[in-house]
Amino acid sequence: MHLRGHGYTPQMFRRRIIGICVICCLVGVWTLEAATPDRLRFEAVQLLRQGQYSQAEPLLENLFTTHPSATNTYLLGLCRLKRWNLDSAAELLRVATTAEPNRHAWLNTFAECQLERGRCDLAIELLNKAIAKADLTTYRYNRAMCRLNLGLIEWAEEDLRAVVKEMPDHVPATIRLAEILVNSGRIAEAGTFLDTLAPDGTNQEALFLMARVQIDRGDTIRAESNYRAVLEITPGHTGALYGLGRLLIADGRAAEGRAVLDRFKTAHAQQEDIENLRDHLANHPRETEVRLRLARALGDIGNSRECLLELENARRSAPDDPRVYRHMAVRFQQTGQTAEARRAEDLALELETATP
């Protein structure tokens, strides 16, 4: 009535409302159009943070297509890196870091991508640039991994020391540093770093290294205990069987030691199977099932590093196979790389859900 009092008829009111709606829609569309990239990006970034990479990817692809920018290029590159689509990720990250060369975090991401592609030489160059701009522990750790892969042990050690100094609870860095120290004969010092780790009965690498430290300390009881703990986790761990067998013989328990070395020989014979699998894969590199068997066999004898390398090869040949990521999660966990383990686990779950 009030409206009517202003001289509006119902038809006029409807038309008015419709008119207002149209204006609102137009304004809304205009507003929406202006807000969409930010909102989309916000949403995508949230998904990336939650590890929902497969859901983030189409949003970022949309952004990349409709609103090309260095940031959107970077985000899509990051997402593809997380989804182990490495070649595409590398190209996107190259474009992004060329456009904005001062973004040290981007340089680090590009370096991570190159590291995963096996191009440690290129990764180091990127990390050098990133560290020159911001000396962060993450960058140092990544550079240490590159240097280790290239056999640049002393330089890797320098980076790992910096990481552990900054973050004493960085388990993977502590283990890698301890491994370098043990291998280069500085076993007592390795012990001081391993001592700082919180006890973790599931981290066989830490347990194995600690056993070698304890032998150096003359604490054969604890060394034996640690070797046995490793064998609880991986019964065919050749390193632990070898170490335990030799320890027992040196301790005067020759019969027991020889029995353990017999087990070692059996486990080592699995190496033959491994070589056969490798042999097969040399001719059929894309057989994921065989590649996974090889990775499993390597893991069974405690060779985590080569196991992960084979899983990486498996991932390259079958990036959408959730079994690959399941295996990766287990091995990452055994090497103390819990964040990586979680990422692999999430991706496996995601792929399993997506797969009918």
């Binding site: 056999g151 640049l152 002393e154 043990v182 280069s184 500085r186 020889r258 070395l261 020989k265 040399a282």
Partner: protein, 562 residues
């Protein structure tokens, strides 16, 4: 640009490897060696004969040895050629003998001596197997091996078949020694893998069409061969009888020495990607394999490594022989420290871990390069894969050789390659031989190159003192191979053993040189334990010269009745 990056990386790798703080006095060896190849007239160039098929034997050769074939008191040089693997041998591609004329000049006497063997060659070992007073040559090949008997007049005759040592497998290294204590020299021949055109494979990155030689895992193992000397110039295959039948190894290097200090020779074999062998002698020439139990078969983590070259010596002067085994890059060279309870893994504590990772080692030699009284270490490096720079960024086919100086406690420091004497030039090195080619007491170096020139390095060491010994054994072992010589100076005891055939495809100078350091010792004593078990004691020998020592006459315990 890419090439520059690779070069930069190599420099980086080596720079890093050498950046450990050297022990005190290590730099005293700067400029120790000088490459004298060109002026010496050594013009040998190894040709692996590769035609792009990536046949594995191409990348493993070449060997060499030294011998005084004409008994003129100067060591001559024998270099092994490969050539065409499955085709008719190209003319001129034969092994070469260079006669030492003195004053660092050599003359090619291949034709006149009849030593130009044309097989696809690998190693060369020198020893007087028939006890006739001149040094003979045993050559390992892909295919039947060759025995060249020295006729004593500057010529050699091929007697392989009549001597019965023509092992037809792919042999690599070999060693002469008296396994059973009967006074003559037996022969251990290391065999590698069963490779043929039928089972040949190509490896690499097929997507990128980068091809490479395949890993030995692709080929079956072959048992080594043991020949017992029958004392009449012939041998019998006694592999089984001596307990040496074992087909799990892919052998490349060998060293024979008394590892368990029980006065008989044992055999250590460096196997490629299979457990190393330690054949322990029971004193009668029967052997049992004890690599695993003794701790000398695997690395510290129980893994096999790619054993290439090997040598043994007491690097920490504790009275027990230690063993160095060279490996692939990204695997450390293994140093097994000997002791009364077997071996412990000493690579890290000896300072060899970091420097050995970026390079692929072949020849390895313990010798006192600077005559300071401890054993230093030379390692000849070079990758097996000629396309490695494409397959693994940062890696290179040619690599610098390495000289490590011992600080006296068994800890080594890598000498700057340039200062050490021209080792900074990356090459694809294989065999390395130590030999005192000018009889000045300083061990010189001969290094072969796969598909490239052999190189001769003269030791120009400082004025440290030394004592040299050349042993003259009984007739059937005239160089007294297997003798152990201990030198006592002050409170230190140093020992070395006489051997022939050790390392990788090689045989070095069998004389013994003890470095004495800068101060002439006021007194020293030497004990020789002869292969027969008898001993000779010598006191205060004149220093800075060689001494020829005769074995004591054989003791006749029960003379025949009239």
């Amino acid at each position: 640009m890419r090439g520059l990056t690779i070069v930069f990386f190599l420099a980086t790798v080596i720079g890093c490897a050498g950046s450990e703080a050297p022990p005190e006095g290590a730099n005293a060896g700067s400029g120790l060696f000088k490459d004298v190849t060109e002026g010496a007239g050594i013009d040998f160039i190894h040709d692996h004969g590769g035609i792009g098929e990536k046949w594995v034997p191409e990348t493993m050769s070449a060997g060499a040895c030294v011998l005084d074939f004409d008994n003129d008191g100067l060591l001559d040089i024998y270099l092994v050629q490969s050539g065409r693997l499955f085709d008719e041998q190209a003319p001129g591609l034969v092994n070469r003998l260079y006669r030492n004329l003195g004053d660092w000049h050599f003359e090619d006497v291949t034709s006149s001596s009849g030593t130009g063997d044309g097989a696809y060659g690998f190693g060369a070992i020198a020893a007087d197997y028939d006890g006739d007073g001149d040094t003979d040559l045993y050559l390992t090949n892909y295919g039947p091996n060759t025995l060249l008997r020295n006729e004593g007049d500057g010529t050699f005759s091929k007697v392989t078949e009549s001597a019965g040592v023509g092992n037809p497998l792919w042999s690599t290294s070999a060693a002469f020694f008296d396994a059973d204590g009967d006074g003559d020299l037996d022969l251990y021949v290391v065999n590698y893998v069963d490779f043929s055109l039928d089972n040949h494979r190509v490896c690499g990155d097929f997507e990128r069409e980068i091809f490479s030689y395949c890993h030995p895992d692709c080929y079956p193992t072959q048992s080594d061969t043991f020949y017992r000397n029958l004392g009449d110039g012939t041998f019998e295959d006694a592999t089984l009888d001596a307990g040496l039948e074992e087909d799990t190894g892919k052998g490349l290097g060998v060293v024979v020495a008394d590892f368990d200090n029980d006065s008989d020779p044992d055999i250590y074999v460096a196997n490629d990607s299979t457990p190393n062998f330690l054949w322990v002698n029971d004193g009668t020439g029967h052997f049992t394999e004890q690599g695993l139990v003794s701790g000398a078969a695997f690395n510290d983590a129980g893994r096999t490594q790619a054993g290439m070259g090997v040598d043994a010596g007491d690097i920490n002067n504790d009275g027990w022989l230690d063993v160095i085994v060279t490996h692939l890059s990204m695997e450390d060279n293994a140093l097994y420290l000997g002791g009364p309870n077997g071996f412990s893994y000493g690579t890290g504590s000896a300072g060899l871990y970091t420097a050995s990772l970026p390079v692929l080692g072949f020849g390895a030699n313990f010798f006192d390069a600077d005559l300071d009284g401890d054993l230093d270490l030379f390692v000849a490096n070079g990758d097996v894969v000629d396309t490695i720079d494409l397959l693994r960024p940062g890696a290179t086919h040619a690599q610098p050789d390495q000289l490590f100086l011992n600080d006296g406690s068994g800890r080594f420091a890598l000498l700057d390659p340039e200062a050490a004497g021209g080792f900074s030039q990356p090459r694809v090195s294989r065999a390395s031989i130590t030999a005192d080619l000018d009889n000045d007491g300083r061990m010189d170096l001969l290094v072969t190159t796969n598909n490239g020139p052999a190189r001769l390095f003269r030791n120009r060491g400082q004025s440290n003192h030394w004592i040299g010994l050349e042993l003259r054994g009984p007739q059937n072992n005239p160089k007294a191979i297997g003798a152990r010589i201990s030198l006592v100076v002050g409170d230190r005891t140093i020992f070395q053993e006489v051997r022939t055939g050790s390392g990788y495809l090689a045989s070095s100078d069998s004389r013994i040189v003890f470095g004495l350091g800068p101060e002439a010792p006021s007194n020293q004593s030497i004990t020789i334990r002869w292969p027969s078990g008898r001993t000779t004691r010598l006191h205060d020998l004149e220093i800075n010269r060689y001494h020829l020592i005769d074995a004591p006459p054989e003791q006749v315990l029960f003379p025949p009745q009239e």
